[in-house]
Symmetry: C2
Subunit: 419 residues, 2 copies
């Protein structure tokens, strides 16, 4: 199967991130030469012709950036719940608590299935449809399964999502309610991922696009929109610092790539930026490698409450290390108590209720300020990639009613509410 790119479409080829070998725009995610991961390459001249006006006149979702994406240029070809253009929220109260000057929260819990995964799934499945696939699938830590299942229901295409058996119940139900197949695997996410790679090689799954396996190059490009949007929402400029959660590490590398592209094609002024990565203490292989000043990422067995980030063998880890080193950023990690405190800090100061991944990122932001790794006077964007309701158990023991009283004034007075 191969994409028949329409005339003027921006994508040109799949390009190996390691050795530069090129392939047509097919369903393939690893280089036959060196086994390196494949990435979408573009026609430079097509990208350079894109204007701010063209983007601004587009829809209020990721498809305004279709001229910079590998699929979905024609609205009729999209498989999508129309995610994107989520709020960029000025966070003055949070900045003040952290001793920072200018801080923004990019709140991707506002997407249709309430995580940034809707972006990558919309791009992957639009490409997959063009490639002729008739079933959608994924290996997921939860949010991705929610998104694939919802996309399939919207599009009327069967789905089969693979998840670790011990996921948060809210994420399981929010996948299963769409009535596709939900396969719980008695193992870790890394086991699920390995199994899905094997399944793509079977006859029975020949018709199946695994969004983050066989169509991964297209999938990964969807994350660029989290860079494009922040730049556009800031008035077409790149922030000085960004703090991004890391699971596979792919999101971080793609936001970094988005910033480079915007400068290359002339949509924003040239400027420098620093990229910071956030992990949990229960799953910190990329940050640990950075701290040890090595290129060698040692896989771990993930633990802890930030399940959506629990990828022990992170595929894009080396590229995340490269981006952070190149931009003079840093990575750090936080434990479960710090994650819970991060969720509550963000909620209390901004009105944004994040899932554990957002708690990780805010808590790491705090740590980076305290350690002096991040400049508190430089404009910073912190990414919240998911919704607190999906990981409600993370905080349900911490917060609840502050008072419980009978329904009369006397009881209210006795509770101290009337002084």
């Amino acid at each position: 199967m191969s994409v028949t790119a329409p005339a003027g479409a921006p994508a040109r080829a799949l390009v190996c991130r390691n050795c530069g070998a090129e392939y047509p725009l097919i369903a393939q995610n690893a280089c036959y030469e060196c086994f390196g991961p494949l990435e979408v390459g573009y026609h430079d001249d097509v990208l350079r012709a894109v204007t701010r006006e063209q983007i601004e006149s587009g829809p209020d979702n990721i498809w305004r950036y279709a001229p910079l994406l590998p699929a979905g240029q024609d609205p009729a070809t999209r498989v999508t719940v129309n995610p994107g253009m989520t709020p960029l929220i000025r966070a003055d109260a949070l900045a003040a608590e952290l001793g920072m000057k200018t801080l923004w929260v990019k709140d991707d819990s506002a997407n249709p299935t309430h995580s940034f995964k809707d972006r990558v799934v919309s791009v992957a499945l639009s490409a997959a449809k063009g490639l002729g696939f008739t079933r959608f699938a994924c290996a997921s830590t939860g949010n991705l399964a929610n998104s694939v299942a919802a996309h399939g229901a919207r599009a009327g295409v069967p789905t089969i999502v693979f998840i670790p058996y011990d996921l948060e119940q809210n994420k399981v139900v929010t996948s299963a309610v769409y009535a596709g197949d939900v396969v719980a695997i008695e193992g870790s996410y890394d086991d699920v991922n390995r199994l899905c790679s094997e399944l793509t090689e079977t006859d029975e799954f020949e018709d199946t696009a695994f969004v983050n396996v066989n169509v991964r190059p297209y999938y990964a490009e969807g994350s660029k929109t989290l860079g494009y949007e922040v730049a556009e929402q800031l008035g077409w400029r790149i922030p000085e610092q960004v703090v991004i959660p890391m699971a596979s590490g792919e999101l971080l590398t793609k936001v970094d790539k988005a910033f480079s592209e915007l400068i290359d094609v002339g949509l924003v002024p040239d400027s420098s930026w620093r990229v910071f990565g956030a992990q949990s203490a229960g799953c910190n292989p990329i940050a640990t490698a950075l701290h040890a000043d090595t290129d060698q990422i040692t896989p771990v067995k993930p633990t802890g409450i930030a399940k959506s980030l629990n990828i022990g063998d992170p595929a894009a880890g080396p590229y995340a290390l490269e981006a952070v080193r190149r931009t003079n950023g840093w990575m750090d990690y936080v434990n479960d108590d710090e994650i819970r405190a991060g969720i509550q800090l963000l909620a209390r100061t901004t009105g944004v209720f994040a899932e554990t991944a957002g708690g990780v990122t805010v808590a790491v932001l705090k740590k980076l300020v305290e350690s002096g790794k991040l400049d508190p006077d430089a404009e910073t964007v912190v990414y919240n990639t998911g919704e607190g309701l999906k990981t409600i158990d993370a905080v349900s023991a911490q917060v609840g009613p502050t008072h419980t009283v009978a329904p009369n004034l006397k009881a209210v007075r006795a509770a101290g509410l009337l002084g």
Copy 2:
């Protein structure tokens, strides 16, 4: 306290819905003459000067309609999480299952705190700020508390929300995480509401705006945006039929008011529409009055899983009856099993995961088609007002993993996934 309306502001006075008596734009919700509810009245000439172009050039949220609202004209005066412009989703697969021709889902779970309440809270609190209030409060069945607490956190204003003690845990946590006061009342919502009315009369709560009590006239106007948006999203025209959930009944009356206003001020062509109301069997006082052909609404003690609709003594019930009768619509109600089926039907056919209130509305839509009360050939909009994650327990016993297998191909084959 009174609003100092800026020159050119659309709101003119508070007007009694029963006797027409007028009051200045103060914090008051009942008529001193006849105890009827007060509603915001506007300067007709100011409304008539509003153009489509003016609205379309506004922000992609409810504030594009500020020229038609009682507060928030000046962005600096807003207390808001910027809700609105939620998706209007073409629901062809759902229409086909129901034997309908043209059906849309207005999905208000896409708001920042994932219910339509963000609309009314943003308008109420923007008015409340202008009135000088320094604390925000509400009587809530859950979603309203979530929204008030989040608005307070965003604005840096203290909040105190009052809820029935037996709410869904997800809604309690999603209120408490913002760190304001959460008061659980050992009684029904109607008890909570009565208590809050009493509290507004106490010295200790003199500084407190209860969004749905003492500033209710402003609050209620926020629901008009759910009518405006649908009309604008359809290309500036009014749909032939709308199906709307009813708790107090206010939302239904305000969507109806919005349609009338749009015609009156010349923003849409004149056309007729029919309004349909949805309740649960556990709390159906308005629908029961319609079915009994009476104006007398007999309060009930609510039961059942659609807790966000469980208002046994619905304040706007008489006005909802009037709107439904005037437009030749109808009301109906469904039981808990039908509600669960409604949630699953909507999810499976549209990719939208609704809370129990949305399940009520979709199940009532189905019933209205089956009973012939609603015309399946007329263009219809069904409103989903909240998010499935908030009432996850409603379906968590119904849906879950379809398979649970060990992480290897052999196990996958044994489970029948490889044929």
